[in-house]
């Protein structure tokens, strides 16, 4: 097999139990069908991690994959997906990060790294073109994320070594610990760091001196220049460059979707005080790109310049941690929020889940279902000392932290309290947006293959509130109106397919998807130019559907059906109390029916046999049927 142009060409399998590894050739037909990154990982997860596997046992596998655009100077950033069976949800775990690790592993020749087994002692892996070294990490155990980065670069004597590390939270088996790259860039969701730590791996370091080529480089440069032009002409260019995702906080205030005090207040009276606008004016000192090939650098570097925390600095924050440690927990103190955000990242925890378990506990207290004595802290909305203390307690599993470290679903089961306000879907906690004010997003949370999360669909066009656009794109005016219901199934189908492609190219959603730079047509042209394999626009869309469907098949095999595609009761039954979307609930069932119909799934959420066959997933259909899951035609 010749190396497919634009790919590293190899899949690296590391067996921790036996301390061996081998590099396999990447099968070009697989690369065409699943593109790379998230798609390749979903394929492996389906076939290599069958039902019943303990997420924290040695039979679970963890995959890291990069995509075909990574390593070219395209302007869309370079990312990777970390995929495994999730210890948080027990289902599909998958998280994406923008990091230099991604291009470095490709230059080392690997499109995918598969980590299997369990090491007897703590190790970190040092991966280069010549293979894998199992490095002793006994002395690193207990280190935070940033300490681990520094120690490894010091030991290897190379500042360009890219590191993905876990912090103490993962070591303590907090179920929502992430893998942290470039110190600040998190593959935060679904507990991928916990899986790595359970295998006794403290970090993965990679360094690559290789290169990549394109089959038709002149055409690729044309595509790149067109994408760059689209980026620079886009009106979002400057706001994004100045504020990155932190700009969403004020948008949330304007549209009334903030998660104030655990989704009780969709607008708050202190939004500006904790906003991206304020960060830009008073805190940000520099702009950074999270990864190679980014022409819209949006990772800000901040410094607190006044007050007791003066001198504290770091990268970010993104909207999710920002919203999580301010409005979701009712905290108006931006300086303290920044300190907490850095701490959560240095412990190596998912900021979204951490903010949910804390907010959930505070609402329990508000309802009088827990006392301060029982919790061991003074539970008071917005108290930064409480929040910080709870973060410490979770990371080190102290006191009530032991319960919260299990995630909100299990915590509510363990305490047998507050199940109705445990805001998760399929075990993954909801992000910082109230779906009653963003109905397409709400549908997206309900059906997303990894649980309540916007990044599978990110249907940003509904925020435009432009009926003409909705008609043009989906034949339904309401599709592009955030409080509309009709057409949302089509909307989510389209953007789920697109994001599957963006995630598999491993490009950045801020540019590629949110600014519609890498649409199906552009993706097809880029893929053809890079690999020389001719792919059309509709084949590209089909690849997106294939990825969505194999992920769904994984869930269906685990027993997931329509009854799991649910949002928590508050969003379905309690009308929003204030803000522009006051009075709204989310009409989930109508939207679900439309979504399934367009997907070619039954109304129970199971892919039809004909759908799977049309997408070339015949083996998957056979596997499901062999396991007694009846497929309809």
């Amino acid at each position: 097999m010749t190396r497919l142009k634009g790919y590293g060409g190899k899949v690296l399998r590391v067996d921790l139990t036996h301390r061996t590894y081998r590099a396999e050739e990447l099968d070009p037909s697989l690369a065409k069908a699943f593109i790379g990154g998230r798609g390749l990982n979903a394929y492996r997860l389906y076939w290599e991690v069958p039902p019943g596997v303990d997420p924290l046992g040695p039979e679970n596998k963890l995959m890291i994959a990069t995509g075909p655009l990574v390593g070219f100077p395209h302007g869309l950033g370079s990312r990777l997906n970390v995929t495994s069976r999730s210890p948080l949800t027990g289902l599909l775990g998958d998280s994406n990060a923008g990091t230099h690790f991604s291009e470095e592993m490709k230059f080392a020749g690997y499109d995918q790294i598969i980590i299997e087994g369990r090491s007897e002692r703590p190790v970190y892996l040092y991966i280069t073109e010549s293979g894998v070294e199992f490095m002793d990490a006994e002395g690193l155990w207990g280190f935070t994320v940033s300490q681990t980065h520094e120690a490894i670069r010091h030991e290897l004597g190379d500042q360009r070594v890219q590191v993905g590390a876990v912090g103490p939270a993962a070591e303590n088996l907090v179920k929502f610990a992430g893998v942290f790259f470039n110190v600040y860039r998190a593959a935060g969701r679904t507990g991928m760091g916990t899986v790595l730590a359970s295998k006794n791996v403290k970090a993965i370091a990679v360094r690559g001196d290789g290169y990549i080529e394109a089959e038709n480089v002149d055409e690729l440069i044309k595509v790149i220049d067109e994408m760059l032009r689209r980026i620079y002409e886009n009106p979002q260019y400057w706001p994004r460059r100045i504020m990155g995702t932190s700009r969403v906080l004020m948008a949330g205030q304007r549209l009334g979707f903030l998660p104030g005090r655990h989704f009780q207040d969709p607008v708050v009276d202190y939004a500006y005080d904790v906003s991206g606008e304020r960060l830009a004016r008073e805190y940000n000192v520099k702009v950074r790109a999270c990864s190679a090939g980014c022409a819209l650098p949006c990772a800000r570097f901040f410094m607190i310049k006044r007050g007791p925390l003066a001198g504290l600095m770091g990268e970010g924050p993104e909207y999710e941690p920002l919203g999580g440690f301010t409005v979701r927990v009712g905290n108006r103190d931006l300086d303290r929020a920044l300190k907490i955000i850095l701490k959560v990242a240095d412990y190596g925890m998912d900021a979204i889940t951490t903010s949910e378990v804390i907010a959930w506990l505070m609402e329990l207290r508000q309802r009088g279902e827990i006392t301060d004595e029982e919790a061991g802290v003074k539970l008071e909305w917005g108290n930064p000392d409480t929040i910080e203390e709870l973060v410490d307690m979770i990371a080190y599993r102290r006191g009530i932290g032991k319960v919260l470290a299990e995630g909100v679903k299990r915590a509510s089961e363990m305490l047998n309290r507050g199940k109705d306000i445990a805001f998760h879907v399929k075990g993954l906690e909801m992000i910082q947006a109230d779906p009653r004010a963003l109905k397409g997003y709400g549908l997206g949370f309900a059906v997303a293959s990894r649980g309540a999360d916007h990044l599978r669909s990110e249907p940003f066009v509904e925020v435009e509130d432009d009926p003409e656009l909705g008609k043009k794109m989906f034949g339904e005016p309401e599709a592009a109106m955030r409080l509309g219901v009709k057409g949302k199934g089509k909307l989510i189908n389209y953007f789920e397919d697109l994001n599957a492609i963006v995630d598999s190219f491993e490009s950045c959603k801020n540019t590629a998807e949110n600014m519609l730079i890498l649409d199906f047509d552009m993706a097809a042209r880029a893929y053809t130019a890079i690999t020389g394999i001719h792919v059309t626009e509709s084949e590209m869309r089909e690849a997106g559907m294939r990825i969505v469907n194999i992920e769904r098949a994984y869930l269906v095999r685990e027993g997931v059906r329509r009854s799991h595609d649910r949002l928590p009761k508050r969003f379905l039954e309690e009308p929003l109390r204030s803000g522009p979307a006051k009075g709204h609930v989310i009409e989930l069932d109508v939207m679900l029916d439309e979504y399934y119909d367009v997907r070619g799934w039954t109304r129970d959420g199971v892919p039809r046999r004909s759908t799977l066959l049309r997408l070339g997933l015949k083996e998957v259909a056979m596997d499901l049927e062999a396991r007694g899951i009846k497929l309809e035609d």
């Binding site: 390593g71 070219f72 100077p73 302007g75 230099h100 291009e103 470095e104 230059f107 940033s146 980065h149 500042q159 360009r160 470039n182 110190v183 600040y184 690559g208 001196d209 290789g210 290169y211 990549i212 080529e213 394109a214 480089v217 760059l228 000192v285 520099k286 702009v287 950074r288 790109a289 990864s291 190679a292 090939g293 980014c294 022409a295 819209l296 650098p297 570097f301 600095m313 770091g314 990268e315």
Partner: protein, 172 residues
């Protein structure tokens, strides 16, 4: 070893660490995309939010050119360092004497050094940097006449910034 000729100047406050300069430099000279085959290399310190692309300063006289035992390195019309790959024996002297660490050996077989040749006067890295962190300076020499102490102070303070643009500011 001060730079007196044209060279690529860096404004570190603008560099975001996107490696785009490296990837294009590698393509321009080697026909493939790589970080390691670039003549410019970005050093990153995440905890300071800091990125700095290290590149040849086109010293005059240049220690690498002076000390190269085979005459493989020479100065071109723009004052740029040119490499004659045929004459290079991969002895590493240039890379060892470069005061800026800007002359790395080609990483795979270390057959020759990667030294910036200014792309013949039209630097790819400068053209492609998305944040204008790079520019190509002639050493422009500006003469100014401060009229009072305040102006003299302002000029002396601004000299550093001007220097980053490759501009020499002299008092007339």
């Amino acid at each position: 070893m001060e730079s007196k000729g044209i060279h690529v100047v860096v404004d570190p406050s603008k560099c975001v660490g996107c490696n785009i300069c490296e990837l294009w430099c590698s393509y321009e000279h080697e026909g493939v995309f790589s970080r390691s085959l670039s003549r410019i290399s970005v050093i990153t310190y995440e905890r300071l939010g800091f990125d700095y692309p290290v590149v040849c300063q086109q010293c005059e006289p240049a220690p690498c050119v002076e000390l190269c035992p085979t005459g493989a390195l020479s100065k071109g019309k723009l004052g740029e360092v040119n490499l004659d790959k045929g004459k290079c024996i991969g002895c590493r002297v240039c890379s060892e004497v470069c005061p800026y660490g800007a002359a790395r050996m080609e990483p795979r077989e270390a057959r020759y050094p990667l030294i910036c040749d200014l792309c013949g006067g039209e630097p790819m890295c400068v053209a492609r940097c998305p944040t204008n962190a790079l520019s190509l300076s002639k050493v422009t020499n500006v003469k100014v006449k401060p009229r009072n102490a305040a102006e003299a102070f302002a000029i002396s303070e601004l000299r550093k910034l001007a220097d980053e643009w490759g501009v020499d500011v002299d008092e007339a």
